[in-house]
């Protein structure tokens, strides 16, 4: 399937580059709807990979790349179950997310995330599966999960630790603060900073450069340069589920859902 238009995302393969557009209002929250279509994407990847060299992941939502996990949906679904059933539901969801993230991470395509606006939590984790992150100067990255009493659960800690120094990882996690594109570039997370609104254009010129090289060589290089931290990812899931089982997390989620702020994104 070289072209797809869904409720949350679309993709189109053209000239050796597949562009994946996230377009789910308000800001590409990752819940069941988004996950269903991300699974369609990874299912289509083998066919796409035979015809492409690069993948660009971007958002057409004005607010940004992605606000992260759909906390309202998470609260609603979690509140409908209790105890072990709630935890089993969460674990199943996390496993599905990890399958998508690991497949994107391991794809032989050179993957480029074009980030603008907010790139928080699960959205940040999705960007971290990519080989290269380019960001416009208004982009902001954050892991605000600790305010809910949980840790990032979509593979964020092992992947961020793979890319930047551990001091930066701890700073982002323990303060929940967001960092701009300039700081993200300074710490090695972002490879290039674009002018406002130009991250996709920059990603396209980067992808055009990638296309000049032999696909097989790039894939071999990627496998060696970017190993997937599978053991840490498994450990993260266990820690996440242990923390998620605590009643304080449901209370924090309830507070978030009850917030009257239209955009309660500030950590």
């Amino acid at each position: 399937m070289n072209e797809f238009t869904g409720k949350t995302l679309s993709w189109k393969l053209s000239g050796g580059i597949v562009e994946v557009e996230l377009h789910y209002a308000p800001c590409n929250e990752i819940g069941i709807a988004m996950l269903d279509e991300l699974e369609l994407l990874v299912k289509a990847l083998p066919q796409i990979e035979s015809q492409a060299s690069a993948l660009i992941l971007y958002s057409s939502r004005k607010e940004g790349f992605s606000a992260g996990g759909d906390l309202r949906e998470l609260y609603r679904l979690s509140a409908a179950t209790e105890g072990q059933a709630r935890l089993d539901g969460m674990r199943a969801f996390i496993h599905r997310v990890h399958h998508v993230a690991n497949t994107l991470d391991a794809s032989p395509l050179t993957t480029i995330a074009a980030v603008h606006g907010i790139c928080f939590g699960g959205g940040f984790e999705l960007a971290l599966t990519c080989d290269i992150i380019v960001a416009d100067k208004m982009a902001r990255f954050a892991f605000p999960e600790l305010r809910l009493g949980i840790i990032p659960g979509f593979g964020g800690i092992p992947r961020l630790r793979r890319d930047v120094g551990n001091a930066v990882v701890r700073d982002l996690l323990f303060t929940g603060r967001s960092i701009g594109a300039a700081k993200a570039q300074a710490v090695g997370l972002v490879s290039q900073v674009a002018a406002e609104g130009e991250s996709l254009r920059l990603a396209r010129t980067t992808a055009a450069q990638v296309l000049k090289y032999d696909r097989h060589t790039s894939a071999v290089c990627k496998k060696f340069a970017k190993p997937i931290p599978l053991e840490d990812l498994r450990r993260e899931t266990e820690l996440f589920c242990d923390l998620f089982a605590r009643p304080a997390v449901m209370e924090a989620l309830r507070k978030f859902v009850d917030s009257t702020d239209a955009h309660p994104y500030l950590p």
């Binding site: 607010e63 907010i118 500030l266």
Partner: protein, 80 residues
């Protein structure tokens, strides 16, 4: 080195230009959420613009609870 007044004035100029509010209507003691009619997402955008303009880092937690331009300028001034 900018003075606090200069920093405040630059913030007001930037806020007026970006959020399309007449500059003459903005004063240092104003609540910028109300005066600019912005929500927390737009406040984050303002924070980013200020970081880019002044070439500083301004952690979100330093401006939590801050809603007036003068205090915002004071937090920025401490990082210039």
């Amino acid at each position: 080195m900018r003075t606090l007044d200069q920093t405040t004035s630059e913030i007001l100029d930037l806020a007026a230009a970006h959020f399309k509010v007449p500059r003459a209507q903005l004063s240092p003691g104003d609540d910028f959420y109300r005066k600019l009619k912005i929500d927390s997402l737009q406040a984050l955008e303002l924070l980013t613009r200020l970081e880019n303009h002044f070439g500083i880092e301004l952690p979100d937690y330093e401006v939590q609870g801050v809603s007036d331009f003068r205090t915002l300028a004071d937090r920025i001034q401490a990082r210039l």
